[in-house]
């Protein structure tokens, strides 16, 4: 047996391994019950994997932030009983124990029901968004036609929970944070949705597996046909990513929990496990939006090069997801925060027009898909111009009045 065939065989075995394992475990059950248990196993696995990812993402974030800021990050927590530190790998569990054992403080005069419901609702909505993402060729938990709509509907509801938290806390910082969160939601929901429409348009479907399939294959044999490698797809991906940063309340758009102004924003009056739930929901939201970005623009679970296809699809999805999450963390370590009026101006005067123009670009791209030969260059040039010219013009208007200065000296 030659090596290529070996790779191919192990590849296909690994590819279907999760499904095979599940069927082995539940195959003996009668039909209707098997469907139920299968679903439960899927949900349980997803929660376990994403939960573990959350735990280590917090550690990774603190470690990476630490390295960027020339300090080691958390590295002291030993594994219980054996006293080995292993770079502080037990830190997330220590954090978990701390969060659970900490006193849960509800402020006097707070709306107790809402105060309790807010983190629960937030977490519930962000878990709901995780259900529809295709994690691999055979790993789609919830496959239905309006997946994109469902995802963004559930995603938008998370901001409602943030508002609930801010309103129920009876704290002025929380209230300011709640107001900011709403302003941010309304502003960034629009470019987020608009940036997604071209991908839906080109796939002709709102179902995520279909959108991933639309990105299959390689142009010229090596350039993956992922949307991000087209002019409109690149612009759409950037708009999507910026809006995703804002939607998940991440730096530089972390205004609702702006530490230097609003202490901890809507989280000010939360402690212990409820605080941990908020934290978890933020990371779940981040994972969900990154997963969506991967699915819509980065080819989902597709391999980047033809000869790498033997690696299972879910590995590719994981790699792309983690790289996007890394960029989230990197941005957090690098950027200062915008002010609320700058934040909304950036959305309405820059992202929304760009996203609208991008619809046209995508339409042009799709209409000219038959062009070949030298017309190909025309196609690329026109599409690039459609992206770059508005970007430059709008960008110049956005940064008007802001420039580096020169200074004089007293004689």
């Amino acid at each position: 047996m030659n090596a290529a065939l070996l790779f191919a065989t192990t590849g296909s075995v690994l590819e279907t391994l999760p499904v095979t394992l599940r069927d082995l475990a539940t195959g003996w059950l009668p039909e209707p019950l098997r469907w139920l248990v299968n679903s439960l196993v899927g949900v349980g696995t997803l929660l376990a994997v994403i939960g573990l990812l959350f735990a280590y993402l917090t550690l990774a974030e603190r470690k990476i932030l630490g390295r960027i800021q020339n300090r080691p990050g958390p590295n002291r927590t030993p594994i219980p009983f054996i006293n080995l530190r292993f770079f502080g790998l037990a830190q997330p569990f220590a954090d978990g124990v701390k969060a659970i054992t900490k006193e849960d403080v509800i402020p006097d005069g707070a709306d107790k029901v809402l105060h309790f419901l807010a983190p629960v609702a937030l977490l519930a909505f962000s878990i709901m968004t995780l259900g529809v993402i295709p994690y691999g060729r055979h790993l789609v938990l919830l496959e239905f036609d309006a997946a994109v709509l469902y995802f963004f509907a559930a995603g938008a509801a998370t901001e409602l929970a943030v508002f609930m938290a801010g309103w129920a806390s009876r704290n002025k910082y929380s209230l300011l944070a709640a107001m900011r969160a709403l302003a941010q939601l309304i502003s960034y929901e629009l470019p987020l949705l608009l940036s997604v429409v071209p991908a839906v348009m080109l796939a002709g479907s709102l179902a995520l597996p279909a959108i991933v399939e639309a990105q299959a294959g390689w142009r010229y044999g090596f350039l993956p046909q992922w949307h991000v490698f087209t002019p409109w797809g690149f612009a759409g991906f950037i708009i999507f990513f910026i809006s995703a940063l804002a939607e998940s309340n991440r730096s530089p758009f972390d205004l609702p929990e702006a530490e230097s102004e609003l202490i901890a924003g809507h989280l000010t009056e939360y402690s212990g496990f409820k605080y941990a739930l908020f934290f978890m929901a933020e990371y779940f939201g981040m994972c969900a939006l990154s997963g969506m970005g991967v699915t819509l623009f980065l080819g989902g679970w597709q391999a980047p090069l033809p000869f790498l296809e033997f690696i299972p699809s879910y590995v590719w999805f994981g790699v792309k997801l983690l790289s996007l999450l890394l960029v989230f963390i990197w941005i957090r370590a690098t950027f200062p925060r915008l002010r609320i009026d700058q934040l909304t101006r950036f959305a309405w005067k820059f992202l929304v027009p760009l996203a609208l123009i991008n619809l046209g670009t995508a339409a042009f791209w799709s209409l000219t898909s038959g062009w070949s030969g030298p017309l190909q260059f025309v196609r690329w040039a026109v599409a690039l111009a459609l992206v770059l010219v508005p970007f430059t013009l709008l960008g110049r208007r956005l940064s008007a009045g802001v420039a580096p200065r020169t200074y004089r000296y007293a004689t």
Partner: protein
């Protein structure tokens, strides 16, 4: 908004003010335990949405009776207390106090000590401005990275202070008629290395931040202070120079050996937060020049005037005001002596306290987020504000 209601002396009732167009106002007490008030400072901010319509600073949480304390102990015993005024720049506080007492007693200072004082003051300026730039960026919402970079450099300077005076921050180094310890050649070499590397750090810091679009958008045109108001309020230091007024005691007072050094005084034009930040960065570059010249020209000789009296120090009756250009502005000490071992009157002119008086004028009409960076750009240390 009805300005009469808001500006009235009974402004505390402003919560009840209702305006048909703007709705209710929100009064937020920022501080004394708030991440960005640089200590136990408190601002009672009245907000219309996110806009500030009234700001009332409250301080005194760190009041330690500094001035009265200075009158109950001997002249020398006040020296360590001055460390605790502006605890980021102990060396310049020490120097300003030493100058006041030396004026009072007519005490000369040897040349070597004057050079060492200049070196330490300029190192303090580097330290203070570096910290301030880091804190300001933190207030702008950078999650710690510029602050950590700034603190890395600050630690290097503090190490120098520690090896010279025995303490990182509470140096207690100056004496009337000189300095307490003579710096060793090894210390001078270490300082030379630090000064030689500091420009590279500033280049890196500026490359990362000064041209950053978000930083410029956040700080340009924010917290504008007019030069007229600055002069009327007695604002000094980088804050005054950022408004375009050429005022630097190192030039105008020419104390110590400053006239021997070549350096320029950077001036702003707009008086906003960006100018205050930039003026400080440019000042650091000038400080490096001064340090290079002072280290090159450091003479030998005694560090302490041999005739200076430490014990039984009783200046003749009279009064004196000693001041220098501290990193935050004019730091001055006013002393009245009646010939006894303790001063009859001991008074501090704290630059950051006086610079703080214009806070509300700079903040009105800006947003909460701006108030935080405006306060950050004033550069206060509560040890000095509250005394």
């Amino acid at each position: 908004m009805n300005p009469e209601l808001l500006g009235s002396p009974g402004g505390a009732n402003v919560r009840a003010v209702h305006d048909a167009f703007h709705g209710d106002l929100l009064e937020v007490s920022m501080g004394p335990h708030h991440p960005s008030t640089h200590g136990v400072f408190r601002m009672i901010v009245t907000l219309d949405g996110e806009r500030i319509v009234k700001l009332k600073p409250v301080f005194g949480y760190l009041h330690r009776n500094h001035e009265k304390l200075g009158e109950t102990v001997s002249y020398l015993a006040s020296m360590p207390y001055t460390d605790r005024l502006d605890y980021l720049s102990a060396m310049t506080n020490n120097w300003a106090y030493a100058i006041a007492v030396e004026k009072l007693a007519g005490q000369p200072v040897p040349e070597r000590a004057e050079y060492v004082r200049v070196i330490l003051a300029e190192l303090t300026r580097l330290l203070n401005h570096t910290c301030l730039a880091g804190f300001l960026m933190q207030d702008c919402g950078c999650s710690g990275t510029p602050l950590m970079y700034a603190f890395r450099e600050r630690e290097k300077i503090l190490d120098l202070f520690e090896s010279l005076s025995g303490s990182r921050m509470m140096c207690n180094y100056q004496r009337f008629g000189g300095c307490r310890v003579d710096p060793t050649p090894a210390w001078v070499d270490a300082t030379r290395t630090l000064v030689g590397n500091y420009g590279a750090f500033l280049d890196e810091f500026e490359a990362l931040l000064t041209g950053n679009e978000i930083i410029m958008a956040r700080t340009q045109g924010v917290g504008v202070l007019s030069s007229a108001l600055a002069i009327n309020a007695g604002v000094t230091g980088p804050m005054l120079r950022a408004t375009g007024v050429a005022s630097d005691l190192r030039k105008s007072d020419a104390y110590g050996v400053y006239p021997r050094f070549q350096f320029r005084v950077p001036l702003g034009a707009h008086g906003d937060v960006y100018d205050r930040y930039m003026v400080r960065v440019l000042e650091m570059r000038e400080s490096i020049k001064i340090l290079e010249q002072a280290l090159a020209g450091l003479p030998g000789g005694p560090i302490m005037d041999p005739k200076a009296k430490l014990r039984g120090f009783r200046p003749k009756a009279g009064e004196a005001y000693g001041r220098i250009e501290g990193p935050k502005g004019e730091i001055g000490f006013y002393l009245v002596s009646d010939g006894s071992p303790n001063p009859l009157r001991y008074r501090v002119r704290p630059p950051s306290f006086i610079n703080l008086t214009v806070l509300e004028d700079m903040c009105l009409g800006q947003t909460v987020a701006d108030a935080v960076i405006i306060l950050g750009s004033v550069d206060i240390v509560l040890g000095e504000v509250d005394r």
